[in-house]
Amino acid sequence: MKPLVDKELCVACGECIDACPVGAISVGDECAEISDECTLCGMCVDACQYGAISMPDVGTGADEDLSRYKGVWVFVEWRHGTVHRVSYELLTVGRKLAEKKGTDLCAVIQGHKLDGVEKDLFRYGAKTVYVVDHPSLAHFTDEIYGNVLVELVRRYRPEILLAGGTSTGRSFIPRVAAMLQTGLTADCTELDINDEGLLLQTRPAFGGNIMASILCPYRRPQIATVRPKVLRAEPLDMPVDGQVVRPDLPGACFVSRVEVLEEQVLEGPGANIAEADVVVSGGRGLQRKENFAMLEELASLLNGAVGASRGAVEAGLADPSQQVGQTGRTVAPVLYMAVGISGAVQHVVGMQGSKVIVAVNRDPEAPIFDVCHFGVVADLFEFVPAFIRKIRKERGEEV
């Protein structure tokens, strides 16, 4: 298969030749020709200003009537007694999608001893909350979490299913998609309903250098994951008057070949850096362990956590649990502040997904300034205390 070239529309301009990453296009006398080298990447389709190139259709083969699928579902992630924030973010976008489609928003929550958490979901607009509470759901396993969700989807047939791109969602949602034989789009940053009523899923690929818009035209449900903190959670002023459904599921759903032996929650000062909205990280430029106290003060003013570069960890200024980067944690907070960090590539890969990156460094040539959105060339020992004073002053606190 190859993209289709419309001979009527093609003007043989050759723009598509440059667009093709594998050199599969040549231009004859009248129109573009695509060779067998083509990998169907779709670059030429976008490159053609005349709309002359189109992709061949993806697999149809849906033997089911798609109109039997209705409603927008959010898989709500329950962790050690609380609902993960990404679930509220998904309910918020799910509510908008449901409105646009003129259908209902529903939530599914799985776990054990889920006393009353479903109430919270009505505040985000869920009309129906499906609750599955079972001892074998106390710990996550791909098999049981997947079996239960698949069983519910088969029973109630939602047309859209959203889940968090957490270590849990990224692990078991592909199982759900494969069992249901439907498409799955990973790590979407934008979700919308297109003119045909399909879920338009936009996601980054190639490490964020390219965005792709993806459809799942012939299979249901259309499934997408979204990373935490990418979207905003907005509760309603008034909770909806929804219902709770506790489906009775066959025992076979709760059988797993995997046995959970142990679960450990990471402790130490860096335990919450992956979840925090604000991360203030220090590097070797901090010089002494005591100096991290000012980063802690700043972070706590912003309800954030303190991270570190490997340089700082190796120098004994910070705890290994705080290390951000290739051999540390990957973080993507709303605000990442790199203080006294040079910006080595091994550090940058662990924080480049942050929404806003601020760098404070006295060396104007420091590579961290190439990746930041806001760079401050200053001595950190002057800048950080002054910034703390500014925040306190704005809040009307004694300085």
């Binding site: 298969m1 723009e15 169907l40 990447c41 909205d277």
Partner: protein
Amino acid sequence: MHIVVCLKQVPESQNVRIDPKTNTLIRQGVASVLNPFDYFALEAALTIKDERLDTKVTAITMGPPQAKEVLMDALSRGADDAILISHRAFAGADTWATSFTLAAAIRRLEPVDLIVCGKQAIDGDTAQVGPELATILNRPYATYVKSFEFVDDSHLKITRQTDEGVAVWRLPLPALVTVLKDVGEPRPRSYRATLRARRYEIPVWGPEELGVDEDSVGLKGSYTQVVRIFSPERKKDRIMLRGSVEEMVDELYYWLKEQRVPGL
């Protein structure tokens, strides 16, 4: 023990960009390499082979003919066998169609005790192929595996990374794991293995060899469809400040407020 390692060939750098004027991909250094995370998958398999001498490691990849290069690389590091899954019909596969095709190949390689995948591919970035492949083959799996050991001949004890810490699981074989870099530093090519690789004829399997219908693979067998590819909105131009600390503090404060950073 038979282990299959799934390898993907990817563009050398993630630094592909789109020309804002022509909206086309800028071709710069489009050399192809082995997906960096897949080195660890191969290493995990080879470590098992170091300890259990009766182990055979087969490397497979689905891709264009030049994807053979990553198999040569794997053979040169100690893989015993390699299969290239390549045919025009496979082009344009989404993760379902990719997993479906790899599953068909693995069925032909059975018995397979363990399948090892990388954490994710740096181009598609979905991390979906491992779990989808395991599901199609009806095998248990564990993702984000940091370390593993054999409990007995048919069970692994694995430690997997979670968002808040780690989980330790007992995983019965046959199974699939996707591994993190913690499994071990990839070994270099060996001289002997490289000599052997040069003489090794890599079999190429297409839909016929796999016994699959051409309509069930590649773009035709895919459930998702990429309808548009474009450049991300460029982040606001970078702001650089130097000079008076008091002024910089003010500017940063109000700029962060404007960005709606929580906590301010």
